[in-house]
């Protein structure tokens, strides 16, 4: 059996006393790609944020285990150093901090061994070439003045460099044109065999390029149905109403 990367059990989460997740259960093994779909407000982004340890979310019941360890007490930077990665739906803009500086500090923080300049530059060049990113990005400020597509590519670049065991991708395909979508998918596919992937998306089109093992549909803070790639196709065709009707019944 493949390594268990993430186990979420009966997870209940609130924000300022408003329940968002209401008994979420999910297990991801190394090499698996899980896709989570659902209407706006279903709790998809909350799931990714709480797994990554965002302090605004309160776990009221249930557990999250990462690589066999309960991570409830781990801070966000400890989770990152342990190999967890979240590609943000809306990455923060940080004026004054150059992308090159940020990447170096980030990789240095996550890896145990000291960073060797030449080797890192080589690795960085290869990753940027794979994502079709110009080197001028390195001297720009983090996400400052970036288009939606540039922000998402920078997120994927970080993922390639940080080599996570668990990659959480929150609507990474939003706002991408067809070529950018293909490039981002290539990045995801290169990481996926060595990691567990949780992809949050509204659209089936990403799944033309990334082959998921499981597709989950969230309704009201829980997984209402799980299937294979065919479930995403059905949702694209029929929407969520049929599933909501089934769930209510």
């Amino acid at each position: 059996m493949a390594d268990e990367i993430l186990r979420v059990e009966d997870l209940h989460v609130s924000v300022e006393d408003t329940p968002i997740l209401n008994g979420m259960t999910l297990t991801i093994h190394r090499g698996e790609i899980h896709v989570v779909m659902g209407r706006n407000g279903a709790g998809k982004s909350t799931l990714a944020s709480v797994i990554m340890g965002h302090p605004a979310y309160e776990i009221t019941k249930g557990t999250i285990h990462y690589m066999g360890t309960n991570i409830e007490e781990m801070s966000v930077f400890e989770r990152a150093r342990a190999g967890m990665f979240l590609s943000f739906q809306y990455p923060a803009v940080i004026p004054g901090v150059q992308v090159g500086t940020f990447l170096k500090k980030s990789v240095q923080s996550v890896r145990d061994e000291p960073l060797k300049g030449r080797a890192f530059r080589k690795e960085l060049n290869a990753a940027m070439t794979a994502l079709d990113m110009p080197k001028t990005v390195l001297s720009r400020y983090v996400n400052d003045g970036f288009s939606g597509g540039e922000k998402k590519r920078l997120e994927i670049l970080q993922m390639l460099l940080l080599k996570p065991n668990l990659a959480l991708l929150d609507e990474t395909d939003s706002g991408l044109d067809i070529d950018a979508l293909r490039i981002v998918a290539k990045g995801i596919n290169s990481v996926a065999p060595q990691a567990g992937c949780l992809i949050i998306t509204h659209y089936q089109r990403l799944l033309d390029h990334v082959q998921p093992h499981f597709v989950h549909v969230m309704i009201g803070g829980v997984i209402a149905q799980t299937g294979g790639p065919e479930l995403a196709l059905k949702l694209e065709k029929d929407g969520y109403e049929w599933l909501e009707a089934t769930t209510e019944a």
């Binding site: 923060a92 004054g96 901090v97 923080s109």
Partner: protein, 346 residues
Amino acid sequence: MKYADMAVPSRALHLWRYTPWARIHPSKVDEVPQANGVRFNALEGGELVEGAPRIIDADDISRVFLSELGGSAWTFETNGASDIVHLQAVASGHVAVGHLHVSLNHDVTVVLHLSGESDWTGLHVTGEVAPNVRAGFGLVNELSSNGKYLHCEDWRIDRDARLELAGLSIGGFRCKSDIRTRFTAPGGELTQAISVHGTGQRHIDHHIEVHHDVPHTNSALSIHAACDDQTHSIATGLLSISKGANHCDAGQVFKNLLLSDKARAEAIPELEVLADEVAAAHGAASAPVDMNQLHYLMSRGLDEESAVALLIEGFMQDGFSSLSTKNLVDEMRTRLTVHLECELKR
């Protein structure tokens, strides 16, 4: 007017509200103490010539006081031989005063590095930018952390000239800077950027005046102050556009990053616009560290201390983003990085 005949300015005045004259004077307000001369050196790219202090505004108490204190007086005139000139000013003794006049007659960047252990340092820089010249002037205040510092600058920008003024304030315990620029002919441009790092109990007061006395002149000012511990940063501005000085475009932006509950920051931009066809704008913002930025950096493996340090550096580096003179920006950013590497844990 002589200093002895001048009244101590009232705290009701805009300029003296936060740093009264008595708090920045080196001794008792009716005294003009003996002063050493600040030692000036041209480190690279030019020569200094001894001269006499120049009084630009005989009604301003700071300028008159600095003039009567005496000290050293030097003139620097560009000769076109170098793209960048480094000047050094070193203050020592109880009271040290220096006057520097800068004539920018060529496209050049001049960086003045101010350091020293003086208990009280006075510096008066006067400067003029010749017609059609593109010049930069940077002042790096690296004085020891326990002295008082009174600093005045007066600039004249001639026809179609462009001046980029940069300031990095990282030294001195109680600092009062009063920087005034005046356009003397149409077509001039001023871009002014100041970054301040407040630690301990530093008190840093910047007063910036830009006078658009003639039409078709543009100015942009930005001040970024990162305030930690119990520091108090003050930035007051006066942007004036005279009657008939149409087609001017002027703006002031003051930003403060508050890093502790006891740090304080005042940002008071002020406009006096007497012309009709102009664009004038001002803005001010004070805020603690942005939690989304902090979370983003921490989600990439940086611990909280390292993430905050990077945000401070970014905030202060961003203070120089409005400048376009590369060697000026590079120099200011390098000095800032060196300072922060010492101050903040990496």
